[in-house]
């Protein structure tokens, strides 16, 4: 579906289901240089199991208009505007990587709008390698290759997809190649400059679920330690052998964890 948010057209995948005000709502927020499709399996599942689902393309990504925000707070504010535009008072938020930081920040500043949060591959801080930032600034294809190589675990760089016939590395690369010039750079700046993650986590009182990839190089599990400690009501799952691309590398584990937490 398309929805107008602050004058900009926004695309949200709904699992093919019409909005039902009597159902709970879940918003899925993708990470840097991705779009709604990274949540295809999980969002479709919840859409067909009693929830309204909105797997969004954030501004400047996928089919959504506008420019990619260059701050976590900017994406968080946009999430509030999205809920307003959808006339949803309260929703569960699920975010991956940069999307997880946006969920964290939005929830900390708007606690009444969020019922629970799921953070996949979060990190606070979330440093970005200079070589990656430089390549992204130049819209150099090397930036996509670096992200791809660091996002999949070494084992999964050789495949082993749970989704029959899908070559994870190639699929991730093609998705990034579709992004608009400058979008990745803005995303990475947002990651690099966000310094309020632990503080935000400390102020959140709703239930939180955190999933980490044991072999995540983009957001190493150790970088989430303080954030997790600061959360008041949390569950933490670490996926063995998995990198940063949790939804692609471990779709079953992601769905099973989300089911247990959200249903």
């Amino acid at each position: 579906m398309l929805v107008d948010v602050n004058g900009c057209s926004v695309y949200a995948y709904t699992g093919g289901r019409a909005f039902d005000a009597t159902r709970p709502s879940i918003v899925f927020v993708h990470g840097a240089c991705n779009d709604h499709s990274v949540w295809a399996l999980q969002s479709r599942y919840f859409a067909h199991h009693g929830s309204n689902v909105f797997a969004v393309d954030t501004p400047g990504h996928g089919r959504s208009g506008g420019d990619a925000r260059n701050s976590v707070a900017g994406i968080a504010d946009w999430l509030v505007a999205l809920l307003d535009a959808l006339a949803i008072e309260r929703a569960a938020l699920v975010g991956h990587s940069l999307g997880a930081l946006a969920v964290l920040d939005m929830t900390a500043r708007n606690p009444t709008r969020v019922s629970r949060i799921a953070l996949l591959g979060p990190s606070a801080p979330m440093p970005v390698a200079d070589v990656l930032l430089d390549a992204a600034k130049k819209n150099d294809h090397a930036a996509f290759e670096l992200i791809n190589g660091w996002s999949l675990s070494a084992g999964h760089l050789l495949g082993g997809s749970e989704q029959p016939g899908v070559w994870m590395s190639g699929n991730a690369l093609r998705l990034m190649e579709r992004s608009r010039p400058g979008a990745l750079y803005n995303d990475l700046i947002a990651c690099r400059d966000y310094s309020d993650g632990v503080k935000a986590a400390g102020s959140i009182r709703c239930p939180a679920w955190v999933m980490l990839g044991q072999r995540d190089l983009m957001a190493p599990p150790a970088n989430a330690t303080l954030l997790i400690e600061a959360l008041a009501d949390k569950r933490v799952v670490t996926v063995s052998g998995c990198g940063h691309s949790l939804m692609a590398e471990a779709p079953r584990a992601v769905l099973d964890g989300l089911r247990e937490f959200l249903l």
């Binding site: 479709r44 070494a154 760089l157 899908v166 070559w167 190639g170 093609r174 998705l175 769905l255």
Partner: protein
Amino acid sequence: MSKPKFAHFDTLTLHAGATPDPATGARATPIYQTASFVFPDSDYAAALFNMERAGHVYSRISNPTCAVLEERISALEGGVGAIAVASGQAALHLAIATLLGAGSHIVASRSLYGGSHNLLDFTLPRFGIETSFVDPRNLDQWRAAIRPETRLLFGETLGNPGLEVLDIPRIAALAHEHDLPLLVDSTFTTPYLMRPFDHGADLVYHSATKFLSGHGVVIGGLLVDGGRFDWRRSGKFPTLSEPYSGFHDMIFTDESTTAAFLLRARREGIRDFGACMAPMTAFQILQGIETLPLRMQRHVENTRKIVAFLAAHDFVASVGYPELEQHPDHQLAQKLLPRGCGAVFSFAIRGTRDQGRKFIESLRIFSHLANVGDAKSLVIHPASTTHFRVSAEKLAAAGITEGTIRLSVGLENVDDLIEDLSRALYAASKTK
């Protein structure tokens, strides 16, 4: 953080898609010889059927052994995914049936494998799909043939049997000008010699029966999606961008930004037409791919020596191999096929039809049969076999004469192969 390490091509031929079997530790890819897979519970089953979970339901739709092969060919081609099917012909049909319906149109190279030509020229019109055939070297003909209802451009990396080198960069650019995809049959070249996606193609398929499996023991096909074509933006492919009542009104371009084509092909084409690959076949093709780089190097080395021998032989009228300077596509081949132009080529003897027959019947190592891409050397007479149903006029247009002989050069000692050819040429030359 050190730069990521991506495996090289020859490492991917051995490892892509395969992990040691989690149940047994088996290093080789197991043959999952099962029709179906047990569901843990009803909710899990429903989720698998409704594309809410990843996994296998029934081996017509997907199978773990076939899935390893699908990942491997995707990795080697640089695509997003693939579907393993019953044959190369099944792959071509699946690509067309996924994208086109009655009233739509294809522009295709006229230099195609005879089976592909049959499908396009004789069979598909019965289902309302027409094809215009064009000279693969003439971009103006490709352009002029495109109609409002055209939905696909199609050619072979190396034409059959004339070895016209498909100018993929220019034809892909033309296709994309018209918001159309380019489908390429890459059977003769394999990803070792050329990766069509690197040059702009959108879909690639193989008869894996040939060089990929490499030993002439299976029939199989592989259809690979490059993941770059924007089916939604094109607006010409309602099978992908509009609700499909055959699958809960699913809009495939909403489900996957990059692999909508593969979703539809699997959820409809394989489901309904059923031309799936058997897991044993997938295993055998995987075994072949493990040695693809080594075999292709040897295939090309042997071919170059045989081409040189034939080109210098008095009883040979012509040799069509793009590495020869006189071949019309010599320069293009140097650009697109720097590792070699494969191991299948044609030549013509200076003689009558009877002398051609005598030549083939005098060979001892080359086997006279209808296949290419075997480890063993093969020979055939296209006019009486693979292109039997093609009219004389169309034969001539495809560069085939009654004296044309096609070789598929194998992995034997090249001196033995040259001796075999030399003796057969001598025998033919002495025949009245």
